[in-house]
Amino acid sequence: MPSTAPLLVRAALTSRGRRGDSVPDRTLVVEDVRIDRAKLAAYQRLTGYAVDDTVPQPYPWVLAFPVQTALMARPDFPMALPGMVHLENRVTTHRAMDAGDPLTLSVSAGQVRPHRRGRTLDVRLEARVGSELVWECDSVYLSRGRGTHDAPRGDAPRGDGPPRPPVGQPAARWRLPEDLGRSYASVSGDVNPIHLHPLTAKAMGFPRHIAHGMWTCARTLAALGRTSLGPSTSHVWFTKPVFLPSTVELVVDREPARTVAALRSAKTPETTHLVLTLET
């Protein structure tokens, strides 16, 4: 397993002048990935899951983060890693994953597409136990820059956009502390400067630091109960960043095999930060 910190430093130092419209057709595979239970427990505690043997649906993304970073830190990678923004994430769990199962993780980058605020990149992650595919994830990231005005509008560069967020009374209200990004960075290894501190976020062109999308996604899934621990598919759209600190409200619309949830700003409820669907 590659070590994330030096890779991030290298990616940051070489971030200027990265260009090109395609990513190298390459899949990085790491075998025999063992879950550190103390780290998993810290993650579960921070995201609202019970400390348990069943791996939370977003957790393999955290496990694969160093591999993903290694892929993006390579000299021939066309985008700068620091400052990249998570737009969309779709995960399917084929069967409940036990923390004792050694995983084989693979990471491959897909297409680069024009976006009105820069360019987007698809990344595919897969987790296997032995040869059995147990988990797969498609992420879409935005590399901010000179956008393409006639690029498809909306926040969904591929496929359908998010469903309408549920309205009405909040099911929960969470106060997200100023240090949430640093706390999540310490359990996930994702030390992207946009999440850490107002100053590091400003350096990347943000007015303030923002919550990790994968934290808001995990916290929302944890709040929806045990469904996502078993076979299920979650699809999340990160529609507006959550500046830290702030207070967000969870709104939920449950149907038998499909739940739609959203996080909205408590202060300005018309601001939707995230829309998520969970299907079984």
Partner: protein, 427 residues
């Protein structure tokens, strides 16, 4: 109101028990209780089910866990419309929870329920010193700047520090082990007898694992599949080499080997009416016949701290018209080996049974081959509130294996000079 009916024990589940600061060092009571309930739910196909109620507790409890059991239910796959409440009766918590659920089922108030408990000796609440706590509260309620300054000036360096909860009786200042050492000396319980009982606990628990007895009673948790305290290779020599830790001087007999260690874990037991069991395709393992509690005046030294079960059992026997010898299995919680041996000695003693229990004749001896046959707390460990659930599930399964008409007695001592006992009968 209908006449009381019988409540059945339908199954049980627990985490393996971990030694303090062992495999569950990072797990909270709520995590462990949720895991124990969830395993029970999974094994009995109860996902989405609304149960009558879930009753559980923890002896060492954070103030934030005021709704521990309800929170565990909400974290499980049970229907969120399942009510729950917390209880605490020290080490009797789990068995008392089972009595409460069984009683409501017997009265027809509920059809089904879960009784359980969890305790963590690792994730214990840390409390600031009493003087600091009072000064912080005073500072917090100060309204004017002058009041705030005055409150702040009251802080002293000596206020700083933390108090970790200890296994000490508030009224006597003696630890449970110290209390037990007094009782053991009073009853002349020898070191050899204690070590033999401890060894039997390890041998019996190991044998029960070996024959797959726990396959449907335990769900692995955080990588642990077997009780961390179990020493299958223990011998009398090894136990005999340990230094005494409780009691003083030559007569000290209680060691780390014949006393239960501090442990983390959780357990849960499913109970229901016959009708509910039938409707859910579940087979009753045992009937929850009756329960009794007792307390002794240990503060004045009138009786030993952990001797209350020796008073509760004869009352229960009298009510049920049974003799002490009418049981196929005895589950006497091994807080310490000396607890079990002192209790048995008391029941054999003419003077005790006459003067203390008011009986014409002593209860007599039991067949020791029927005692804790699948191991007990000395080998498994003793996460306080989880022990009752461990024992109820174990005994119910033993009785089911033994067959119709067999009967078992449970005896659990608890802090505060209390005891909780119960009778189960094979279904």
């Amino acid at each position: 109101m209908t006449h009381p009916r019988r409540a059945a024990v339908l199954g049980g589940n627990r985490t393996p028990f971990a030694r303090q600061f062992g495999a569950y060092a990072e797990a909270a009571n709520q995590d462990m209780l949720t895991a124990a309930i969830e395993g029970l739910v999974a094994r009995h196909g109860l996902a989405g089910e609304r149960l009558g109620e879930v009753v559980a507790g923890a002896v060492i409890k954070h103030s934030r866990d005021f709704n521990l059991t309800r929170e565990a239910v909400l974290g499980s796959s049970l229907s969120p419309t399942t009510p729950a409440y917390d209880i605490t009766q020290a080490c009797g918590t789990g068995l008392e929870a089972a009595i409460l659920v069984a009683n409501k089922i017997a009265l027809g108030q509920i059809e089904s329920g879960i009784a359980g408990g969890a305790d963590s000796a690792s994730d214990a609440p840390v409390v600031v010193t009493e003087s600091l706590r009072r000064k912080l509260l005073r500072l917090n309620r100060a309204k004017t700047s002058a009041e705030r300054v005055k409150a702040a000036l009251a802080f002293r360096p000596t206020d700083v520090g933390v108090s970790v909860p200890a296994n000490t009786e508030p009224r006597t200042g003696l630890s449970m082990g110290d209390h037990m050492a007094l009782t053991a000396a009073q009853w002349g319980i020898t070191r050899e007898a204690q070590d033999e009982l401890a060894l039997a606990s390890h041998v019996n628990l190991a044998a029960a694992y070996e024959r797959g007895f726990f396959d449907d009673l335990i769900t692995p948790y955080l990588g642990l599949t077997v009780d961390q305290n179990l020493r299958p290779g223990s011998t009398l020599d090894k136990l005999g080499s340990l230094r005494p830790v409780f009691g003083k001087g030559e007569g000290a007999t209680m060691t780390a080997g014949n006393s239960t260690p501090l442990t983390d874990g959780a357990s849960a037991v499913l109970l229901g009416s016959q009708e509910w069991a039938d409707a859910h395709g579940l087979t009753p393992l045992a009937w929850f016949v009756d329960g009794e509690t007792a307390a002794v005046d240990y503060v004045g030294g009138d009786e030993g701290l952990l001797m209350a079960p020796s008073y509760a059992v004869p009352r229960l026997l009298a009510r049920q018209g049974l003799r002490l010898q009418d049981f196929d299995f005895y589950e006497i919680h091994e807080a310490f080996a000396a607890t079990v041996l002192s209790t048995l000695a008391a029941w054999e003693d003419d003077d005790f049974c006459r003067d203390r229990l008011g009986l014409d004749a002593p209860l007599g001896a039991i067949d020791r081959s029927r005692l804790n046959v699948a191991g007990s707390s000395l080998a498994a460990g003793h996460p306080f509130a989880a022990t009752g659930g461990r024992i109820v599930a174990t005994l119910a399964k033993l009785l089911h294996e033994k067959g119709s008409g067999s009967r078992g007695l449970i005896s659990i001592c608890a802090a505060g000079g209390q005891g909780v006992v119960a009778i189960l009968e094979a279904a």
